[in-house]
Amino acid sequence: MNIVVCIKQTFDTEAKIALDSQGKIDSQGVNLIINPYDEFAIEEGIRLKEQLGGEVTVVSLGGERAQEAIRTALAMGADKGILVSDPSLEEVDEWVAAEVLAKAVEGISYDLLLAGRIAIDDGSAQVAVRLAEKLGVPSVSSVLKIEADGEKITAVREIDGGTETLEIPLPAMVTAQKGLNEPRYPSVAGIMKAKRKPLNVVSLADLGLNAGDLSPKMVVDSTALPEARKGGRKLEGEPDQVAKELVQLLRDEAKVI
């Protein structure tokens, strides 16, 4: 079974977010990691390959540094990598990402597409689903368990208050939810082997795309940091008095009830 895993390089979950002088998120000196949900997808791809044979190709869209993310996936056990990197892709929205990834994936023979449920940076949870749509394959999101044979997969996914088991013909797109598996650490031996695995860096032109046709449909006007957390407030007095006051504050000020 040939598998394509789409991954994104994101900020480390512990990175301190700061804005630069232009009001954009400053990525200088920040540790970059593979989006954690994508790690579940990589791990699942490798497990399925180990079980059923075939090849795992990792595809990403990003700057030069994203090669590190792909190389990490190769060190974990994926077989090939493709990075679409182009100076004109500085600003991409989910639509552009899906258009570009679709072109990159089209050239690969695949039975299953895997991706993370959501990227922890912009949290839009759109690209994988848009990509499936563009490629005309069915997709299942937030999957906790996959069983596969050559023709179909059985996927268990999270739904409100429970799970749902689905059978999907291949090819299909599946997005990974936390709990799908426990991703392995790339081993030193894996890192050594990864060096010799193919990693293709391709430009938009290589994919037959034209930057002019790919202007984002969504424009970010401004970015702001969340308001700093304020200290708590302590209500004092008789219990029934305080309880009343608390309910009123929760309703009128915090607006949570």
Binding site: E68, A75, Y185, P186, S187, V188, I191, M192
Partner: protein, 382 residues
């Protein structure tokens, strides 16, 4: 062949995640039980952390000093017992075989050490020979195709979990330091046993034990390097480890600065965070000054090592400075935490105790200064 920046970055990121997910959560348990769970060491082995300094042709990572220092720096951020075990193995516990071993010895030992199946240790110190290593009394007498070792080593890190020991013993008493030879001893050689396990101030989880050689039989092919070169070997092995030791200290210092900074901005006294007091800000600034100086020094020395330059003085300087910066930073961290910094439940207290040993083992601060002064005298032709 050294690692590319990309490979090193992947390793560092992996180590960071590993520390956060696997090691940090066990910190209290390891401290409490004075034990690193075997399962954690197995996971570290699976990742390849036991092969950091073992050449690639023997299954290791074979990184140069810059790579090794950056990995040790990451490992140093966590509970120090973990880097103590890994660092001892990748440092004094294996570099003797890497530097001085012949092809057969390397083939026999290094692959299993790189995979973590065999952990390494280094045995020089004895009851009457600490700083003065040439005063060791353990003897090795040749009998046919074996050497028979007799004596007791003390304070040996990894003593109870190691399989391969680099052991210094006297083969010719009349020659003093030139009569010492190094041997590779396996834990199941006849006549070898582990003595008492020390109860230490800190580094709980990392064990330091006695080793007892009672007519211990070591095959002649296990002489490491030449006969009579044991003292020189020991000094070379120790010198090789110095930048790595300082790098561990750097990692711990960075962690302490981060914890202290967070605490100072959150702890309120006199109606404002204690950070608002200039003296607390200056404490933190002093920590940062020393940390940056240490970082520059470590990587400067590490680059020199990788370029094949001779760094006897620089290695002594970086070891003394790194361990002393760690001591000062840990002291300030406790001070900033006030009474909480003295409590077992506060991790700063653990770093404070763990910092103390770095000025003592692998050559005390005083011995490093002796080396520095001796080198200075040479440099100035005096």
């Amino acid at each position: 062949m050294d690692l590319s920046t990309e490979e090193l970055n992947i390793i560092l990121q992996t180590v960071r995640t590993f520390m956060k997910k696997e090691v940090e959560p066990l910190a209290e348990k390891m401290e409490e039980e004075d034990e690193i769970p075997r399962s954690l060491l197995d996971k570290a082995a699976e990742m390849g952390l036991f092969g950091i300094s073992i050449p690639q042709e023997y299954g290791g990572l074979g990184t140069g000093m810059v790579g090794k220092a950056s990995i040790f720096q990451e490992l140093g951020k966590g509970p120090n017992c973990f880097i103590s075990v890994i660092g001892c193995h990748n440092g004094i516990g294996s570099v003797g075989i890497v530097m001085e071993g012949n092809e057969e010895q390397k083939e026999r030992y290094l692959p299993k050490m790189a995979s973590g199946e065999w952990i390494g240790a280094f045995a020089l110190t004895e009851a009457s020979a600490g700083s003065d290593a040439s005063a060791i009394k353990t003897t090795a007498v040749r009998k046919g195709d074996k050497y028979i070792l007799n004596g007791t080593k003390q304070f040996i890190t990894n003593g109870d979990i190691a399989h391969v020991f680099t052991v210094m013993a006297v083969t010719d008493k009349s020659k003093g330091a030139k009569g010492i030879t190094s041997f590779i001893v396996e834990r199941d050689f006849p006549g070898f046993s582990i003595g008492k396990k020390e109860v230490k101030m800190g580094l709980r989880g990392s064990h330091t034990t006695e080793l007892i050689f009672d007519n211990c039989e070591v095959p002649v092919e296990n002489v490491l390097g030449e006969e009579g070169r044991g003292y020189v070997n020991a000094l070379k092995i120790l010198a090789n480890g110095r930048a790595g030791l300082a790098a561990r200290c750097l990692g711990s210092c960075e962690k302490l600065l981060e914890i202290s900074l967070t605490y100072a901005t959150q702890r309120v006294q006199f109606g404002k965070p204690i950070f608002e007091n200039q003296i607390i800000q200056h404490y933190l600034a002093n920590m940062a000054i020393e940390i940056e100086a240490l970082r520059s020094l470590i990587y400067d020395v590490a680059r020199k090592v990788d370029n094949g330059e001779k760094v006897i003085k620089e290695a002594a300087i970086v070891k003394a400075f790194g361990s002393e910066v760690y001591g000062r930073v840990a002291d300030l961290a406790v001070q900033i935490h006030g009474g909480m910094g003295y409590m077992r439940e506060c991790e700063v207290e653990r770093y404070y105790r763990d910092a103390r040993i770095t000025r003592i083992y692998e050559g005390t601060s005083e011995i490093q200064r002796n080396i520095i002064a001796r080198q200075l005298k040479k440099e100035y032709g005096l």
